[in-house]
Amino acid sequence: MSPRPLKRKPPEKPVDNRKAIKNILGLLKDHKIRLILTVICAVISTVFTIVAPLLIGEATTTIFNGINNIIHHTGSIDLDTLFHLLTIVVILYVISSIFSYLQSFLLVKVSTKISYDLRERMIDKILHLPMDKVEENKRGDILSRVTNDVDSLQNGITQSFIQLTTAVITLIGVFIMMLTINVWMTLATVILVPIAFLLIRAMTRYSQKYFLKQLVFKGSLNAQIEETFTGHDIIRAFNQEEISMEKFESDNENWFGHEWKSQFYSSLNGPLMNFISNFTYVVVAVMGAAFVLQRAIAVGDILAFFQYTQSFNRPIQQITRVMSQIQTAMAASERIFEFLEYEDEENPSEKSITEIKEGIEFENVSFGYVPNEKIIKNLSFNVEKGQKIAIIGETGAGKTTIVKLLMRFYDIDSGSIKIDGADIEEYDKNSIRSLIGMVLQDSWLFSDTISNNIRYGNLDAGDSEVIDAARQVYADNFIRQSSDGYASVLNEDTDNISHGQKQLLTIARTILSKKEILILDEATSSVDTRTEKLIQKAMDKLMEGKTSFIIAHRLSTIRNADRIIVIENGEIIEQGTHEELLALKGYYYNTLNAQLKENL
């Protein structure tokens, strides 16, 4: 199945800011030295950038005075001073860019490392979570936490850290420099800042209203597209194209009607900022000129002031932008940490079990995925070493759950499961699992080579052992026929081999792992007759001399089992051998009869 586009969920609950900040700071703590260095570099780089315009202003004044002197024939431009000033400016700029580079590079190292660590921790978490936390319906969500959220957190850290530090330093520095030039001009410029700030905020809030509105229409339109494209056959076969088109058009128009307004209002920030900066420019030009006339400042100071107001407006824009990025990053960090804070699967015991001597015993086992909803009720049965147990029952009866309990994927609510008389809860979970081989219908393989997939059963197995395992399950033939033989790579959806072939590979994998206990889920459908026979033979081979639990569908398997357990609603309703159950003339007998009649 190809991946569906991940739907970004809007944050359902408001972000707990304090906790998010605490978590992010916790991440930064390990990189204290680098971060301090980053800040130092930022300070140096910014300070140097801030000082330069003053000197440029002085240089301009030198030229202006020189020109005045030339006009009044009292002298000329003082080229030495000019050269001197400009040399210092060049040095300042060069140093500033070096430190600016150092600063951003250090920071990227930190943020990349943080996201590297986070990903590592999350994968580790996934591998150690209890099963119910990684069930199918949660995969998409977990995946987006590992990828998207880590990404936005990294971006958030890098961007906000760089921009916030430089923005703040710049604001303070520029403010001081402007003050040294002229208090009134500074005041006039600075007073516009909070006004701009408030206007932008109001504007953002206003556009937010439209943004949320259009989001609703967007959702319904996208849902319609999704539905139509998935149900395309029906649309065509039932001549629904026009109706579908009409519905689409009305939704499309509706979305557009709100969407462009949302776009328009949110894009008004640009004109607003442009206006503020232009306005400041005029104020500086006029006031500056007036002060020059009063001999309060020099001509060059106007130029310096232009540059300062420019670098005063930029940080404000940056801060507004960064704020939204920080919001995203905080929401992301909340989702990441919520995931990392899940409890690991409990595995208190280190006692390991390496072999089975007598048998397995289920004693009054009860279990439910949700409290008060028992899937397995008071289940008791014995399996002696080397026996084959067939478990049968309708879908949803609890067959798979029984074997999952044995694998300790879930903990039972009451009763006990014993191996050789000892409760399996006394053992290390991993050692129990190492004892059991599992072949499920839903055969999971990697997008790796065929031989590596088989080798997954025993990582130390050599090539000959791998080939031998494949041969035993009749997979050797088709493997050799595929393009690169054992080195053929299964693609991401592993759909370049058939379902039946996949099952053969999982059986080969389990054969190679040489487990004492086996859990097998027989194929029911969607495999062609020939392959089905092969799978059957392979499974028989696998089970030779092993203690096996088979979730069985096939009469021949059931007939050959040492014992048959019939499950209904989580309870054993009948158990015994084929003959015993037939003699019982109960559920087993009746269903089998009905089935035979139906087919003949």
Binding site: L143, N222, I302
Partner: protein
């Protein structure tokens, strides 16, 4: 790519307005440094305070006009971008509705969804940027250059030097980093893939106790990603400080050489100040275009994905015949089907006839081509050779709507649409009354719907597989048609329900029925059973005849008797 521009056509007047208003904005903004120069050169030099105030008022006027112009630009560009996206979506949707299975499978449905949603959004967001870079930046650049020449200095060469420096820097960085963008994307894909694989494989990983092994595997990809990232940023981050440095050095150069110019009497201080500001604008506008070039490939990806949809050729053509007699027959004559690009034929030389009042069944393994046969009848796709005849004429000659009206089709995968039970039933018969609907529901054994207004969520996800199948059968039988095609749509039903539905289907006795199934019990009482293997009809006849004569049929029967499917 040409098709992508089509929705732009009716927006040309609006784009023209954008151009006009941007020109006004640029013109006004660019007068400011000139006015400053006048303030310095005339006002200050001659200590003329009134002149300064006059100029100031002129400047404020310019600022106000510029502000209004920018609002207008915002207005028009929002409308154009949103409208473009709207029209593009419509064109795509219209086009996709005409797709046959062949086109659908070629691009894949999930990809079509992404293309008409995400990719269109991508293009829309880029559009605003295009206005800024392709209209605003050149206007700003050209305007500034004109202003620079008006100043009549000898300093223009400094701008040229800078220009070259910036271009060189851009080129070097692009050459060094661009290949790595692709690599980064590949590694991100690998990280996603590995994560997904681990998520899906958790039961197996735990069963084999391979947690450490998987962690190591992931660590390798993660490390690679880290290394590439550091490399890319190491180079990329040089750009910003160097650009700033180049810009700043330009200012220094202008001052230094401007002073020499002033010495020879050619230049005043105000001119130098204006010159600095104009040259900064020129470089800025160039940088904007440069930045655009860098993100251009990413835009092109979305553009290419969308235009691929628009350029897809529709293989199903409509016919003009609008009359089909009632009680008609459908005949397959040497029909073969081969997926484009595939060497093997999915269907080979299929011949059979659907007659009124008769039930025909198709049985065969997965991938034997059963569903393809059904899809050919309502022309969801066309055969690669051979003919399908209705009333003795090729179905391609008939109007699609007329043809499909004659046919009721139930696909393998039961698909319902958002709405309620009623709206879903009306898909089968647009003028169905509540009684009609209730009757159909009853015939299809839908005993779980209490109210026709019961909600159906997207894709019908609030119903189980078996329930969806029953609803889709009800939808199929609500209207009266000459041909009923059922594609393995009883698979999620238990034997008893299936038997009852089949009993009810006998009501359709005047029509032709075609049932595809893998279950013997579903098809055994059909008038004719076609046994398909590898795309060929290997045998045909009724159940009793096939049991005698057909090995494959016998094998299927035996396996199914040997299975306990009734239990599951």
């Amino acid at each position: 790519m040409k098709k992508l521009l089509k929705p732009m056509k009716n927006k040309i007047p609006q784009i023209f307005f954008i151009f006009i208003f941007l020109s006004i904005q640029v013109y006004c903004d660019l007068t400011l440094p000139q006015y400053t120069a006048e303030i310095v050169n005339v006002g200050i030099q001659n200590t003329n305070f009134q002149f300064i105030i006059d100029i100031g008022i002129m400047m404020l006027l310019m600022v106000a006009i510029s502000a209004l112009a920018t609002v207008a630009v915002s207005y028009f560009s929002s409308r154009v971008a949103s409208g473009y996206a709207k029209d593009l979506r419509k064109i795509i949707y219209e086009k996709v509705l005409k797709f046959s299975n062949h086109e659908l499978n070629h691009i894949s449905r999930s990809s079509l969804i992404t293309r008409s949603t995400n990719d269109v959004n991508q293009l829309q967001s880029v559009l605003g940027m295009i206005f800024m870079t392709l209209i605003f930046a050149p206007l700003l650049g050209i305007g500034s250059i004109i202003k620079v020449f008006e100043l009549q200095t000898n300093l223009s060469w400094i701008i040229l030097v800078n220009f070259i420096a910036v271009v060189l820097l851009l080129i070097i960085v692009i050459i060094k980093v661009l290949p790595y963008f692709k690599i980064t994307q590949e590694i991100i894909d690998r990280i996603n893939k590995t994560t997904r694989e681990i998520l899906i494989g958790i039961p197996v990983i735990k069963a084999f106790v391979r947690q450490d092994y998987e962690a190591d595997k992931f660590q390798k990809v993660n490390q690679e990603f880290y290394d590439v990232n550091i490399y890319v940023f190491k180079t990329l981050l040089i750009m910003l400080p160097l650009m700033t440095l180049i810009m700043n050095l330009m200012v220094v150069l202008i001052l230094y050489y401007g002073a020499y110019d002033a010495l020879s009497g050619g230049l005043l201080t105000g001119d130098i100040i204006a010159f600095i500001q104009y040259s900064t604008q020129i470089v800025t506008s160039f940088l904007m275009i440069g930045a655009f070039m860098i993100i251009l490939p990413r835009i092109l990806v979305s553009g290419r994905r969308v235009s691929e949809v628009l350029n897809t050729e529709i293989t199903i053509t409509d016919g003009d015949l609008k009359e089909i007699s009632s009680n008609s027959t459908i005949e397959f004559k040497n029909v073969s089907y081969r997926y484009p690009g595939s060497e093997k034929e999915t269907l080979k030389d299929i011949n059979f006839t659907l007659k009124p009042g008769k039930t025909t069944a198709i049985i065969g393994g997965t991938g034997s081509g059963k569903s393809t046969i059904l899809n050919l009848i309502p022309r969801l796709q066309d055969p690669s050779s051979g003919e399908i005849l209705i009333d003795g004429k090729n179905i391609k000659n008939f109007n699609l709507k007329t043809l499909r009206d004659k046919i009721s089709f139930t696909p393998q995968k039961a698909i319902l649409f958002q709405g309620d039970v009623k709206s879903n039933m009306k898909i089968g018969k647009s003028d169905a009354s509540d009684e009609d609907i209730e009757k159909a529901l009853e015939l299809a054994q839908v005993d779980f719907v209490e109210d026709l207004a019961e909600e159906v969520t997207q894709g019908g996800s609030n119903f189980s597989g078996g329930q969806k199948q029953r609803l889709s059968i009800a939808r199929a039988i609500i209207g009266t048609h000459d041909f009923y095609l059922f594609d393995d749509c009883f698979s999620a039903l238990d034997m008893n329900t299936e038997r009852r539905i089949k009993e009810n289907l006998k009501n359709l006795k005047d029509s032709s029925i075609l049932i595809v199934s893998q279950r013997i019990s579903t098809i055994m009482d059909a008038d004719e059973i076609l046994v398909i293997d590898n795309g060929e009809i290997v045998d045909r006849g009724n159940h009793n005849k096939l049991i005698e004569s057909c090995e494959i049929y016998r094998e299927i029967v035996n396996i199914q008797i040997d299975s306990m499917e009734a239990l599951s």
